[in-house]
Symmetry: C2
Subunit: 241 residues, 2 copies
């Protein structure tokens, strides 16, 4: 999907498929090689990595000028801090904000609830909403009463990875709902035997929410678009220097 | 206060007083000199800096191994991210958690509200509470109804810098309240003409809260203790290597 999108917009993408048993040092050497290559403006290490490889170590080796995924702790730190600007924003969180803005949803002064606190989505999107002046609550697996908190939200970002956990009755009427979840559930009526659903019960949710993203087809494509945008921005920065 | 505390515990502290008009490059050169000095285990640049100096640039120059204030964006990024450990935690946020733990306040599964979102206190303490499994809401100057949100909190961290903004009626009975605010208000009865108060109306608050820190005397001394602890930890790390 990412490869195809690159081809469509004219970004040259290079796949480097390493064997699953590749030594960590070899993977890091490859990252260094790409860091040094002036033809490369963005590096994406596809996660998850095999168990014998330290994910943190590898991601930290990506030059922050080419960290188009925005997962380098230096980028996350700058994303968190007031008055600091990261070179890249993580793609899915950036896409969530873009979806809200393009749909005319006001963020400033609103109650936002983020469900889930992953490094990839929940945490950074909560930081972005806070920077955009929402009053933000992060709900997670240790929250005893998620429904009562979610019901107060003008904006819900669902990123828990729990199939259809959020019911229609959990939503405030008119709320803007971004469903980041992509969960496979059994479906014998399909040839594949499963179908993809979000963290929100869409059939119920769309009756209550003011706007809601579907799964699949909502956040996914926007994430890819943000990755392309980050790569373009990275290239412009280098060329502009 | 910090100097005296160092002397008391046997940490050698060196004051470097530069003139207000010091060029930025000279201040940074001084930071580099301290970075390179193996006798130095912690560097603290006293804020705020004069207007002609870029605070971000100076703080980023401090070696993260000696960043005992914990304000380097790389440290903040690791503080924010699940599964990552910063070398140092910012002192006041670390002190808030220490105060809660030593007072027997359970954090996991509780509702915590942080009032204020500064880089120094509000933001990092909210991240620490989230890592400790609280359900965290950050309330700030753009929140239309802070009292309704604060009233739901089992734990309140007040770090808004607004003298006595939080009334007793804003608190949930039995809540644990950490008051980080230190605000000067006029007091003609004092020789100095002012006195220090917190962000919480203490007289009212102490009748409702389960526990509450006073201002002055609550968080301040704990912050200094955490700075000493960070410096000791930094030194141990170097000596252990």
């Amino acid at each position: 999907m990412k490869r195809k999108a690159c081809a469509e917009v004219g970004i040259k993408s290079i796949d480097i498929d390493l064997p699953e048993e590749v030594p960590e040092a070899e993977l890091i050497a490859k990252v260094h090689e790409l860091n040094a290559d002036p033809e490369v403006h963005g590096i994406l290490v596809q996660l998850p990595l095999p168990k014998h490889i330290n994910e943190e170590k590898v991601l930290t080796e990506i030059s922050i000028d080419k960290d188009v995924d925005g997962f380098h702790p230096l980028n996350i730190g700058k994303l968190a801090m007031k008055g600091r600007d990261p070179l890249f924003l993580p793609c899915t969180p950036k896409g969530c904000i873009e979806l809200l803005k393009r749909s005319g949803v006001i963020i400033k002064g609103k109650r936002a609830v983020v469900v889930g606190r992953s490094n990839i989505v929940g945490l950074p999107v909560s930081l972005l909403l806070l920077k955009a002046d929402a009053t933000v609550t992060v709900v997670h697996s240790r929250t005893p009463d998620p429904e009562n908190i979610i019901r107060e939200a003008d904006i819900v970002i669902a990123a828990a990875g729990q199939a259809m956990m959020i019911k229609g009755s959990w939503l405030k009427p008119g709320a803007a709902v971004i469903d980041v979840g992509t969960n496979a559930v059994d479906d014998p009526s399909r040839k594949s035997g499963y179908r993809l659903v979000g963290d929100v019960d869409y059939q119920e949710g769309c009756k209550v929410a003011g706007c809601i993203t579907p799964v699949p087809g909502g956040v996914g494509p926007m994430t890819v678009a943000m990755l392309l945008k980050n790569t373009l921005d990275g290239a412009k920065r280098v060329i502009g220097q």
